[in-house]
C-alpha cells in the first residue's frame, strides 16, 4: 500500500528533512538533529507537522451519547472549547487507542465533537463509531476528516509569543486543555492548548489547502517524529503501539497509568471489565526508569529484577537529551514499581543496572 503523505511533504523535503514510515504515513523524522529540535522545544519553541494524526468529526442529536459510549472519560463534562484526554477500550477494557476529544461549537443546535485518534487508526476508528452508532440506533453523523485537515503542534515556552505574532486573535488566554477557533496567519483554525511534549504549546488544526500558509508563517525550529518521541518519553506520555497495543501489548488504562481518564460512572464499552479490574487491582504497571550503567534502553529489551530474573519488558527508551541520561518506560509487577527500586535492563546480552523513577522525568508545563 502506498504511504499517505502530509500536505507539506515537498516543503519538508526541501528543508532537508529525513522521512520515516509511521502509521502508514511518510513523515519527517528529523530536520536538523534530534538534540537540536528537542532543545528548541524545551527552551524556546518548535513546530511539528502531525498531519498523520486522525481527525474524526461527530455531530447530531446523539453525538454526546455516542462519544460517551466509546470513550472512557466523561464527555458530558465538556463545554464548547474544552478538550479531554480519553482511552478507547474494547469489551475487555483493553486499550485500543488513546485520543483527545474536543467539543466544537454546536452545529444546528447539536453538540459536536472532534477527536484525534492515532496515526493509521482513523479508518478503523471511524468504522467502530459507525458500527456502534448503528447498533445503539443513535442519530449522529460521523465523518473521517483526516485527509481534510493538517495538524501542527507548536510547542515550547515561547509558543504563545510566536502565535501572538501571526494571529490577530491569538488565543493565548486559553488554559491547558482548552481550545477555540482562531485566525492564524489569516486562516481560520481550530487551536488547542494541548501537546505531546510536556511543554506549553498549541495544536492547530488547519484546512489541508491552507497548510502551507500557516506553516510558513509559524517560523521556528521544525521538528520531526524523532524529537517528538524523545520529548514525550521525558514527559512520561504513552505511544500507541508501544505502551499499549491491542495485539502485542494488551493493557488496561489502569496498568498504563491513565486511570485518571476513566470515569466508571459513565456508560462505555469496556466499563464492566474495568469496574472489575479496578476492584481487583493491577498486577503490572507502567514505570519510568533510568539506566545507571552505560547503555541505551530500547523497545523490546528485557527488564529483570536485581537477581536477574526477567520480570518485564522495555516499551520505550532513549538517551534523554534534557537529562543526558538513558531513560525508558516499561511494565513490571507492582512490587517492583516503587521509585528507587533497583532493576536491570538487558542490553544486547548484558545486564545494566536501572532505577525506577517517577514520571514525568522532567518538570512539565
Amino acid at each position: 500500500m502506498p504511504l499517505q503523505t502530509p500536505p507539506l511533504r515537498g516543503i519538508h523535503a526541501d528543508r532537508g528533512a529525513k522521512f520515516t514510515e509511521f502509521g502508514g504515513w511518510d513523515m519527517p523524522v528529523e530536520f536538523d538533529s534530534i538534540q537540536t529540535e528537542h532543545r528548541a522545544v524545551r527552551e524556546d519553541v518548535g513546530i511539528f507537522d502531525v498531519s498523520h494524526m486522525g481527525q474524526i468529526h461527530v455531530t447530531g442529536p446523539d453525538a454526546t451519547t455516542l462519544m460517551q459510549r466509546l470513550t472512557t472519560n466523561d464527555v458530558t463534562r465538556l463545554e464548547v472549547g474544552d478538550a479531554q484526554y480519553a482511552a478507547i477500550t474494547d469489551e475487555d477494557g483493553v486499550i485500543i487507542d488513546d485520543t483527545v476529544v474536543y467539543r466544537l461549537p454546536d452545529e444546528d443546535g447539536d453538540a459536536t465533537y472532534l477527536f484525534v485518534p492515532n496515526a493509521g487508526t482513523d479508518e478503523a476508528t471511524h468504522e467502530r463509531w459507525i458500527g456502534y452508532r448503528n447498533e445503539f440506533d443513535l442519530e449522529a453523523t460521523v465523518d473521517n476528516q483526516t485527509d481534510e485537515y493538517a495538524m501542527f503542534a507548536l510547542q515550547g515556552p515561547n509558543a504563545a509569543d510566536l502565535l501572538e505574532d501571526v494571529s490577530e486573535d491569538a488565543p493565548t488566554e486559553l488554559g491547558r486543555f482548552e481550545a477555540t477557533g482562531a485566525t492564524v496567519a489569516g486562516v481560520e483554525c481550530w487551536t488547542a492548548r494541548t501537546g505531546y511534549t510536556g511543554e506549553d504549546g498549541f495544536e492547530i488544526v488547519v484546512p489541508w489547502s491552507e497548510a502551507e500558509t500557516v506553516w510558513s508563517r509559524l517560523e521556528c525550529q521544525p521538528c520531526g517524529l524523532g524529537a517528538r518521541d524523545t520529548l514525550r518519553i521525558e514527559a512520561g506520555l504513552l505511544l500507541a503501539g508501544q505502551e499499549f497495543d491491542l495485539e502485542s501489548n494488551p493493557r488496561t488504562p489502569y496498568e498504563a497509568g491513565i486511570g485518571f481518564a476513566v470515569d466508571l460512572d459513565t456508560e462505555f464499552v469496556g466499563r464492566d471489565a474495568l469496574i472489575e479490574a479496578n476492584e481487583d487491582g493491577i498486577e503490572e504497571q507502567l514505570v519510568g526508569f533510568q539506566l545507571i550503567d552505560r547503555g541505551v534502553p530500547r523497545h523490546g529489551y528485557d527488564i529483570t529484577n536485581a537477581e536477574g530474573r526477567v520480570v518485564g519488558e522495555v516499551t520505550s527508551g532513549t538517551m534523554s537529551p534534557t537529562l543526558e541520561q538513558p531513560i525508558g518506560l516499561g511494565y513490571v509487577p507492582v512490587k517492583y514499581a516503587d521509585p528507587g527500586t533497583t532493576l536491570q535492563v538487558v542490553v544486547r546480552g548484558r545486564s545494566k543496572k536501572a532505577r525506577v523513577e517517577t514520571t514525568p522525568f522532567i518538570d512539565t508545563a
Binding site: G16, E30, I34, G226, D229, V296, T318, P326
Partner: protein, 127 residues
C-alpha cells in the same frame, strides 16, 4: 546533500573507514554514516589488546534513534581506543574522519585492503 569522503583511506560497504598510519591502521565511521545515525550518544568499543577480524563486528554505536553494529574494515590487534568518545560521543558526528576515530590496530594483513572500496567507489555507493 554531499558528504565528505577523503581519498587517503579505504572504505567498507557498511560505512567504516581505515587509514594507514605509521603503526598500523586507524578505524572509524564515515560522514555519511554519522549523518544517517543522527546524534551519537554511546559507543561500545573493544579493549586494548583484543583482536578484531575484517568484516566482523568490533563494537556498537548508538544514536538517539538507532543502534548499529560496527564492522572492522581490517583485522588486527587493538593498539589503542579513542577513549574521548566515552565522554564525548558527539565527536563522531562533529569530526568522523578526525577526532571521532575509534580504534588503532596493528598487525593488519595488507592484502585485506583489496577487499575494501576506494574513495571513488565508496562515493558511488552512497550517491
Amino acid at each position: 546533500m554531499s558528504f565528505n569522503v577523503p581519498d587517503d583511506r579505504h572504505y567498507l560497504e557498511s560505512h567504516e573507514w581505515a587509514l594507514q598510519t605509521d603503526d598500523g591502521f586507524r578505524i572509524g565511521i564515515t560522514d555519511f554514516a554519522q549523518d544517517e545515525l543522527g546524534d551519537v550518544v554511546f559507543v561500545e568499543l573493544p579493549d586494548e589488546g583484543e583482536s578484531i577480524a575484517q568484516e566482523e563486528e568490533f563494537g556498537v554505536i548508538e544514536s538517539i534513534k538507532a543502534v548499529s553494529d560496527l564492522y572492522a574494515p581490517v583485522g588486527g590487534g587493538v593498539l589503542s581506543v579513542n577513549e574521548a568518545l566515552f565522554d564525548s560521543p558527539e565527536l563522531v558526528n562533529e569530526d568522523p574522519f578526525g577526532e571521532g576515530w575509534m580504534l588503532e590496530v596493528e598487525g593488519a594483513d595488507e592484502t585485506e585492503l583489496e577487499a575494501l572500496l576506494s574513495a571513488d567507489e565508496y562515493e558511488d555507493q552512497i550517491a
